[in-house]
Point group: D2
Chain length 347, copies 4
């Protein structure tokens, strides 16, 4: 096992050492609970500043499905559903969390994980044109992820168009930023935290996959948007007693741009792998700019590859080929990248 390489996901290690260091330094301080401590407050201040959203309501939760479920059910009225790409995390891989919260996920077709303002307009127009629409689930919000589940990125222009379509049809816009570090640090990215805060009603900044032990920071630019969100968080079992642990992690990630550094490291490793794959003639399922790489391998090659390297199965391509995902992270060891590249050459 000692020789195996691991590129299966971006949540295989613990936390960025800077975070562990601060946990150690502060361990025996006594603070008040439930996120009322000064570490959480400091993290909120830094995030508000980076978002240029001085009044934003910011809450630190534990995981992405939890955030999605709580934000979405808090924003929707009982008769509303959420529009999402059919590939959206909430559509497929959250075990029906949104439906368990009482709401339908209204899936639409995706383009490499993305949806567009034009699709939203079309969906809404068709809905309101339907004579029976008051017997149907009204679209109440739009869910996107940045980067998407396919590792692609919305451009600022695309995000603006989604925002405009949402405003036009009275929908909320919500962005799942589970891997946001790998978007923000990406060369081709032109969407900043400030843009997200301005164009989305709510979004979250992922910690779990971006250097933290766990944790996601929910940003609600308009602090009056979800009244009593604290109590809702408590009710859904998502309130961390020692809130300082989550707050401190985000405080660290947003000190000296650690969040961007963590992202940039993963992207550098991913770029090297991408370049090597291209040089060696591997076939991409499609190209992505972030830390996730999707390639198509014939099953025989995959068999050999799998003996040496852990990967994520994505989908069957055809009888003889399979799509797999390789992911780098803030923790990827450059030596492992080099080994992987060497190994790819020998396959």
């Amino acid at each position: 096992m000692s020789e195996k390489l691991y590129f299966a996901s971006d949540y295989m290690e613990g936390a960025h050492p800077a975070i562990l260091n601060r946990l150690i330094e502060t361990n025996l301080e006594k603070t008040s609970g439930y996120g009322t401590d000064h570490y959480s407050e400091s993290a909120r201040r830094k995030i508000r500043e980076l978002c240029n959203a001085p009044a934003a309501d910011i809450h630190f939760l534990v995981g992405g499905t939890q955030v999605n479920e709580i934000v979405i059910t808090s924003l929707l009225r009982p008769y509303q559903g959420v529009i999402a790409a059919e590939t959206g995390h909430i559509s497929v891989h959250e075990a029906g969390a949104i439906e368990a919260g009482g709401h339908k996920v209204l899936t639409i077709a995706h383009d490499h994980g993305k949806i567009s303002g034009a699709q939203i307009r079309e969906y809404c127009r068709a809905f309101y044109d339907d004579a029976n629409h008051d017997h149907m689930v009204m679209p109440g919000m739009v869910y996107i992820s940045q980067p998407t589940e396919y590792g692609t990125l919305y451009s600022l222009d695309e995000l603006q168009k989604l925002h405009d379509a949402c405003r036009e049809w009275g929908l909320m816009l919500y962005a799942d930023g589970a891997r946001l570090a790998y978007g923000l640090a990406c060369e081709e990215n032109d969407v900043t935290l400030e843009d997200l805060a301005k164009l989305c009603d709510v979004f979250y900044i992922g910690g779990t996959k971006c250097g933290a032990l766990f944790g996601e920071a929910v940003v609600i630019s308009d602090p009056g948007l979800i009244p009593h969100f604290f109590t809702i968080i408590k009710q859904r079992g998502a309130l961390v007693a020692k809130g300082r642990i989550t707050g401190l992690q985000f405080d660290t990630l947003f000190t000296d741009h650690l969040y961007w550094q963590a992202g940039a490291h993963a992207l550098k490793e991913a770029d090297q792998i991408r370049t090597a794959l291209k040089e060696k003639g591997y076939r991409f399922f499609f190209e992505t700019p972030t830390n996730q790489i999707f390639i198509i391998l014939d099953n025989e090659t995959l068999e050999k590859f799998g003996q040496k390297c852990e990967y994520s199965f994505w989908e069957k391509y055809d009888e003889n080929h399979t799509v797999i995902r390789l992911a780098t992270s803030w923790a990827t060891d450059p030596e492992d990248t080099a080994k992987l590249i060497g190994f790819l050459g020998n396959l």
Copy 2:
């Protein structure tokens, strides 16, 4: 501020140093997610052994309200409710989590936080005697906490009687062990992990208040009791991606009896405070054997006390008196205990 004493709660610090150390040691290991790692597996093995429940299904979640909501809604059928003391955490301080999950909390009177098998029998008898009971919420389970929210403990005999009443009337028995370390390590305690595993259908071993950064270990002795509990956990947003973090904490807590040591430390400090309070003639609201101490202060004394020491307001006793709670923990500094005792003498 530097001089203030803090006895307000048992979740003001980070984690037991032994836990931090292991987080550091293992930080860059790569493991699979969602609790499938070997640290989680090792923790499960240790807990199963201590519980003498070799087949038990064990899951690591993040917090107590979360565990309560998920376990209770998983065990109940739609037409059932859960019997609990009117002082039970689920009855009062979980922001309606159980109701949000669709179930009524059927509150009954408490005796210093405890309820009895006799009360369960009486409740069930009255329910089934009521000609309209099929228009009412059927009791489906019983919720207790060990220690209780009042710091008291069920004896083995009391627990056995609750168990018997539950079996007689077809109810599940569930114990909330948020502060279990402070019960297990208590001199007067005669309820072991093995007893809990045998007499309760489900219980949880608290980590957050007992030395961990966060985390609670749910023990289901009969592994078939809640099918697909993993997926339910995921659906409720309670599945931790880096499950190893929680697993590792419990693995540490159940290595070399750290969990009992952590509990014993808090109890030793609490005992010293109790003794001093008695010697100095303070008035107890009632006596407790665990890490929570409830005293009645006149409001003038409380004013002075509060300037020096953080405490928890419990309830108004009368116009001129207030009940407050003092809590020790695994992290209480003996010097702080000494200072508190000194201070109590001068009030």
Copy 3:
């Protein structure tokens, strides 16, 4: 059996003959569905006029529990609960419908089925005074029934005070009028439909127990209070395809004051029974002005009584006595009343 008398409840017969006649007359007319027909519209017009609420939103549903659940869950936000008397129908006899809808029923003590504005104020003051209230269920509305489950009536002054307390603390006020005909037609009643429409945010006018085959009319004075209520009704399975059937029944009940006549008939019969009970020295559990009568019988007498007359068991009074309820209705045959009175004399 042919000789048995039936005073067990007010929903033992079909519908007032005037309703059946109109069902027959209109049977083969073709109308649009879901309450968009002209009979429903005519009923709405009449009710709006009687309520002096020209813009009121009015919906016809099937039964009381259904109305309660849908109105309450539509008015409450996820973190809120509904205050009700511990004897309220929603507190006891709706099988946990409100909790199944996600909300806690916050029960308070009752005075013969009634609660007061002072109690509401006290509840809210204590709630907001509690330092942990954001970990608790916020009161969001008040549920009352008129007449109550105990057959008592709120006076206009009492209703005004409830309204004032609700306004003061930001609560909605909702009245369950399952037996409203028996309140409106009562001599001692001073609360009109207009008062209810003005002082309650929502209330419903009971049909099922007041002369209809089935049906309850929900009155929302402010038509913007519950957006998309139609779709909510559909979603909860409460939208009747042939809405005209319900509409027509209410149109009939509110033509020529049939609703008041139906109520008055029941009250006249009840008054005769009450007078006879008093004359004959029967012991009342407490006195009521409406169609429900509560008396205490020793168990031996009850045994004989039950052989001749169907009644509702209310509760055990003591070892040897039982509280029973007798109910009259729009359909009570005066001959049956006479027989009952005769029989009471012979017991």
Copy 4:
């Protein structure tokens, strides 16, 4: 208006005269409530016999969406969803009732409203083959409608195959029989009540669209399948106080084969219209054997048609054509059919 024809739906009139007559005859009888009366019991007996399911649990509810929501949420466990055609009533036109009940509708492609055993097998195989399926919604049951929303019918062979696939993969099979009379009475139909009772875990016999004022009869062949279904019905606000009204309607529909006669009448009228449409060269969207007829009209013709006859808009066919639905019912006047046919000839 007096001259307009109405073929928009099958729920435009009241009830079959035989039902009204029995409501009148029995109106002042006093019966116990909630379906415990002898009319309901008699209806149950007749249905059990026709289903050859002597132990079947039978409940009378009010409407189809209500039945679907209550049955489906009662049969599913929290982590499960229901497979349905993307055209299924629960998928589209129930305002998210199933999701409001906590469950995902897992939509699959349809063939004229129908799905197949092969599709179920394929869906389940793909689900269990997916390495992440425990992060996804497990299929727990299959929903079909007989006749479908497209007026088509499952053959006995098709139903058997669905049943077999469900058994193979551990799924429940549930049939929505909102228009069952129009299936049972159909010449090409080979699925009997007995077959439905044998092959489906639960199904319902539609009353609302088949001659009743309202009402649907839920048949659960295995009486232990949904424990405490009565209380669940109460909790969901679906328990009718005067249950005898619904029971009596079904007792009448299942006396002297009225249900089949009601269906046969609609089919005879529909067949005449179909024949005329064919003779006159109208274009069918697709052919159906039951009381719903789908034709494609160019928009100009539709404009004229609509002035004379009410119809249901189904969908746009292309820029210049529209699909409409015509429906007959137990109440369709043969004179109206003749007029429609005459009118169709003149368009």
